[in-house]
Symmetry: C2
Subunit: 408 residues, 2 copies
């Protein structure tokens, strides 16, 4: 149904915008590169006969009318910005698969009860301002004036960057959609993991988006001379931390979808011949099920407390960030499964470990996601890759999903 060649050519065309010398892509929000990408997609939207506009936070929107043209809209899309030196599929595939699906509707002349809108959200990644999902927050009505004070590496605020591209930061409220005005949001995105690859499947049905809990563990023992302090007289903060790190892995492995990562660790005083007196490390803990995540968190806290008590270490744990997991809507998941069946694909349920724009829309409308197989699970890297066939399969499943969701 969908035009695999057209979809792939558009992906390859976008890949030239913001391309770096080593092949990666850098398209930061409100940059000339992001502008060029939006202009290119705008032209394709217009070629497809969509009614195109940009809203008050810069979201690019191409609309196809429905029979109930003042009824709620079915929204589909993703983002066009990238991380520094990122890949070509994280974001663009969701925008172009949405465009491809809606262009197929145009070409088949199918009529839908509800209008369908293709959206390219402004700044999902947050690479420039270390604050992301600006466009989806704006559309959800949760973006605030405070958020616009975040600055980039040059001290430029989001507010300033918006003004520079002709947006009025005082008008962000105009981008907010009203309650009931969005019937559903569904997004195609690369998996960024290896579940589909290992299952030998091109697409998956996302059941939820994991929310990251970020904790900082601080262990305080007693620094001392590496030569003169007997093993049984030590209060070594690093050996205690190592024991906790082992237990974090074990606790996560007991669950199906939980992932836990210690990504930062510092040792004080840090001399080769000095027993570590203090260690700090972070934990990023995620699950799509809030109850499971809490169970694992409690298990980790309990075992960490026991390890530190046994080793006479002082332990404190601070919460750096706590984002609740988001469940995908059951009706949308069912529609995606039906669509998979229609195109002859086995509908494997997967979870999203990474955050996506849909998280911001959770209180506005039901959301759903379709994942496309990633080669080797690599993402945010020039080697990010999904095959033309897999990209088309994602668009095809989206097409059949949109037909169901837009019945009204």
């Amino acid at each position: 149904m969908v035009n695999q060649e057209r979809l792939w050519q558009r992906l390859m065309t976008l890949a030239e915008i913001g391309r770096q010398p080593d092949g990666g892509i850098t398209r930061l929000s409100f940059s000339p590169e992001e502008r060029a990408a939006k202009d290119t997609v705008r032209r394709w939207m217009e070629e497809a006969g969509l009614s195109v506009r940009e809203d008050a936070v810069g979201n690019l929107i191409g609309r196809r009318s429905g029979q109930q043209n003042d009824g709620p809209v079915v929204l589909t899309g993703s983002h066009l910005d990238s991380v520094y030196n990122g890949g070509n599929f994280d974001g663009p595939l969701g925008v172009l698969a949405a465009l491809e699906a809606v262009q197929c509707m145009q070409e088949t002349g199918v009529e839908t009860a509800l209008p369908v809108e293709v959206v390219a959200f402004t700044d999902e990644e947050g690479a420039r301002f270390r604050f992301g999902m600006i466009g989806s927050r704006g559309l959800a009505g949760t973006l605030t004036a405070d958020h616009l004070e975040a600055v980039d590496a040059n001290g430029v605020r989001i507010r300033d960057a918006m003004t520079a591209v002709g947006l009025n930061p005082d008008d962000i409220g105009q981008a907010a959609r009203s309650s009931g005005s969005v019937a559903a949001y569904v997004e195609v995105h690369i998996e960024q993991g290896t579940v589909l690859e290992r299952a030998n499947l091109p697409v998956g049905v996302v059941s939820g988006i994991a929310g990251p809990l970020w904790l900082k563990f601080s262990l305080r023992g007693q620094a001392g001379h590496a030569g003169t302090t007997a093993m049984d007289a030590r209060r070594d903060a690093l050996v205690g931390a190592a024991a906790i790190i082992q237990e974090i892995e074990a606790a996560c492995r007991q669950e199906v979808h939980t992932v836990g990562t210690v990504g930062q660790l510092t040792v004080e005083p840090g001399g080769v011949n000095i027993i570590p007196g203090q260690v700090e490390f972070t934990l990023d803990l995620r699950d799509v099920d809030a109850a499971v995540r809490t169970r694992v968190e409690q298990r980790i806290r309990t075992v960490a407390a026991r390890i530190c008590a046994d080793r006479q270490l002082d332990l404190s744990i601070a919460v750096l960030q706590d984002i609740a997991p988001v469940r995908c809507d059951e009706r949308i998941q069912a529609a995606i499964r039906t669509a998979c069946a229609q195109v002859g694909l086995s509908p494997l349920t997967v979870v999203s470990g990474a955050g996506h724009d849909g998280m911001q829309l959770q209180h506005l409308c039901p959301i759903g996601m379709i994942f496309v197989r990633s080669k080797d699970g690599v993402s945010h890297h020039p080697a990010e890759w999904s095959s033309p066939e897999d990209c088309a399969a994602g668009a095809e499943v989206l097409y059949h999903t949109l037909l169901q969701l837009s019945q009204g």
Copy 2:
């Protein structure tokens, strides 16, 4: 026998030289503070009736004649320099206990066959030039012109520092003692550990000085997204390192005297939400018995290789430093044990985890050490402390030891 009050007053007098605002002591080599300390001790040596000189590397030497005055000398002492903001006992106690013991010989008028020399070595700690034991290397004849190229934080070479205090760096060979000219070296030093404190004993007989083996472990796995990479699809270098750190502790605990310390650890890329792709950490491994240390090292290497193979991590291990352990001479140990018995002390055998000047003299003469109890094992810190009674006990044991060793 020894004069506890005199010994203590001298310790307290030295504590004023190089004293820092927070109570620590900084007496770097070739500094005005080290000079002032040597001048003070020189005056006390002269008061005790010793024949005083300084050799070509600045070692301060006070000599008491023996009946065989051209026979080999019994050498005893320690150093007067300190680390940055160090304590008052590491070094000075050994010099002043030696002076006290020899002054007692003077006062009792005892005659010995062999001459006895009290030595205050130049720069044991290496705090200034990150190269230490300069005086003992010079006396052993192992100090080279290359060594003198080491620079301090201001770019001043050892060579320059020597010239500035009136020493000729080209004359260092004149400090070397000839083979057979030193009958024994015995040193009183604070334990810097808690073995004596836990055994409730003021002094201990040192059986050997542990040599540090420094290894650097490099583990390379695969960095990845903390949210999207399933637990069983990870090659997390930090979890692997944590497992090895646990095994290092376990391997050391299987032995009596082995100590192993991971004091430095770095994680790459180091993002909260990025799986560690690379970890480097150091190991400081020590034992007084080279064979035991090698056995533990092999056990650690084997288990590290297994852990990394299981986790698909690349492992490399580099040797940063490998200093052989030094055994204390059995005859000197026996003399110290006899001395302990003479003063009514139980002769507990202990090991030295830290390095000492005696290590440099191992090929020149038999060496021995007497340890004095350290409060809480604290050293290289203003809180370093040994009681007046314990310091006197160390000097008393040394006195009786020197009487035996100087019989000829």
